[in-house]
């Protein structure tokens, strides 16, 4: 159990990198929600934007992550600090599941319920906030859950451009050909992904409409 000893010996650094990792994932997910949920709402109400928006998000998803980090490096303000860059890239990757699930969730709301609300004189905003979003909430959150789990994994690669996070152990371990160091990054990252999955998942179940 060399790994455990290694982690125990370096626990301050493990903790520090874990927090950095959480910061990258947390901020990028927040940005992705801020952009993705409104976009999902728009395309569920304006079907002609549906294809281009989803296609765009899909294309971003297909860019290899290491390449995307590399591409963004020369961008002026962003390239100055690696964490800005990592957050932008992670945000872009998290968009697709959030947009798609917001769209699916809102389209899945019973049209009879929406029409009843409209017929009774709810404004479009009231319909959105009182009917569509609450009823789509659990589907939207399951998109957020997927996004978080993907981000936790992808954020390890951010260390390649010096953005920190648990990837630092992984890259250092690879360079040193030392399994203990690799695992000191990989195990906490896996645990983070698991914890995020479970916690967002339980929130999602609580919001599921009956």
């Amino acid at each position: 159990m060399n790994v455990i000893r290694f982690i125990a010996q370096n626990h301050t650094q493990v903790l520090e990198l874990t927090l950095e990792h959480l910061w990258l994932v947390g901020v990028s997910t927040a940005f992705a929600m801020l952009i993705g949920i409104p976009l999902g709402i728009v395309i569920s109400h304006r079907p002609r934007f549906n294809k281009p928006v989803l296609a765009g998000a899909n294309i971003i998803q297909t860019i290899p992550s290491l390449a995307l980090f590399g591409f963004l490096l020369p961008v002026p303000w962003l390239g100055e600090r690696a964490d800005r860059l990592a957050i932008l890239a992670l945000t872009l990757y998290a968009l697709l599941p959030i947009i798609r699930n917001t769209y699916t969730g809102i389209c899945g709301v019973d049209p009879a319920v929406v029409e009843a609300g409209r017929g009774m004189g709810l404004t479009e905003w009231q319909l959105l906030f009182q009917v569509e979003l609450p009823l789509a909430a659990s589907v939207i959150l399951s998109g957020v859950r997927v996004a978080v789990v993907i981000s936790v994994g992808l954020a390890t690669i951010a260390a390649a451009i010096g953005a920190g996070g648990l990837g630092e152990f992984i890259f250092r371990g690879l360079a040193m050909v030392d399994d203990r160091v690799i695992l000191a990054g990989a195990i906490p990252a896996a645990l983070l992904a698991l914890a995020a999955d479970v916690s967002v998942g339980s929130l999602e179940r609580r919001l599921r409409p009956r």
Partner: protein
């Protein structure tokens, strides 16, 4: 209470509605008097639901005008118009994430009534439609079909609208529950004198509830008759209806659940 020759509450003037090249309604002219229950009778696709949705402007006519209280409903505030018209649909269309009380209090709440008044109104309406008060905190999925429909009626009545639109409200119910709700509807209407437009494909329901029956076929208004006139009518479509239901009332009752 017969109101005689007052101006109609709802009036269709040469209304046509076309969508994607399909003529859904052609040259519909129709008047609904204050306090009456006008039944729109017709088979699926005859345009009766579209006619109903034209009144609260869920559908806008391709040509023609719909006057509500003497004013074209295409002018002015559509939200105001709708809040002044109760709307009941099949399966009630209740908000699944709202309790019974919040469902009923929906329009009062968005109209900005104080919370206490909204709550009192919801309870008053629950009593009116025969729902036990302990159901106030239940969710729609915890209710039977008949109870949900009662909530739907209570919700439509919440802000005391003068007009009530009902789109096959009892069609999905079992025959006993339907019979019960039809009877209660009549009692309610004796007390409240709302102007009701009621859509159904069930002739027996139409005869029982309507003060007049507007028969529709293929997007056209065939005739408007009182229930008694309807049974004696020599009109081709009216006769066809009477024959279809008269041949066997048992089979007619079965059809009603479909």
């Amino acid at each position: 209470m017969q109101l005689g020759h007052e101006s109609p509450v709802i009036e269709f003037r040469d209304v046509s509605y076309r969508v994607n090249g399909t003529q859904v309604l052609s040259d519909l002219s129709l008047q609904v008097a204050s306090g009456e229950t006008l039944v729109l009778l017709g088979r699926s696709g005859s345009g009766k639901t579209t006619t109903l949705k034209l009144i609260n402007r869920l559908v806008s006519p391709t040509s023609g005008k719909i006057l509500v209280n003497g004013v074209s409903n295409g002018e002015g505030d559509i939200i105001r118009l709708r809040r002044g018209i109760g709307y009941v649909i099949q399966d009630a269309g209740l908000f699944p994430h709202f309790t019974v009380e919040r469902n009923i209090g929906l329009v009062p709440k968005i109209e900005g009534w104080p919370e206490g008044k909204t709550r009192a109104r919801a309870q008053e309406l629950m009593q009116l439609v025969g729902l036990p008060l302990e159901m106030a905190s239940r969710y729609p999925h915890q209710l039977s079909g008949g109870q949900r429909q009662r909530v739907g009626v209570a919700r439509a009545l919440a802000a005391d609208p003068a007009i009530l639109l009902m789109d096959e409200p009892f069609a999905a119910l079992d025959p006993l529950t339907r019979d019960e709700l039809q009877r209660e509807f009549l009692l309610l209407q004796q007390r409240l004198h709302k102007t009701v437009v009621f859509v159904t494909h069930d002739l027996r329901e139409a005869l029982r509830l309507g003060s007049r029956i507007a028969l529709m076929e293929a997007g056209k208004l065939v005739t408007v008759l009182s229930p008694k006139e309807f049974l004696k009518s020599k009109d081709r479509w009216a006769e066809a209806y009477v024959r279809a239901f008269g041949d066997g009332l048992e089979s007619a009752a079965d059809r009603g659940t479909s």
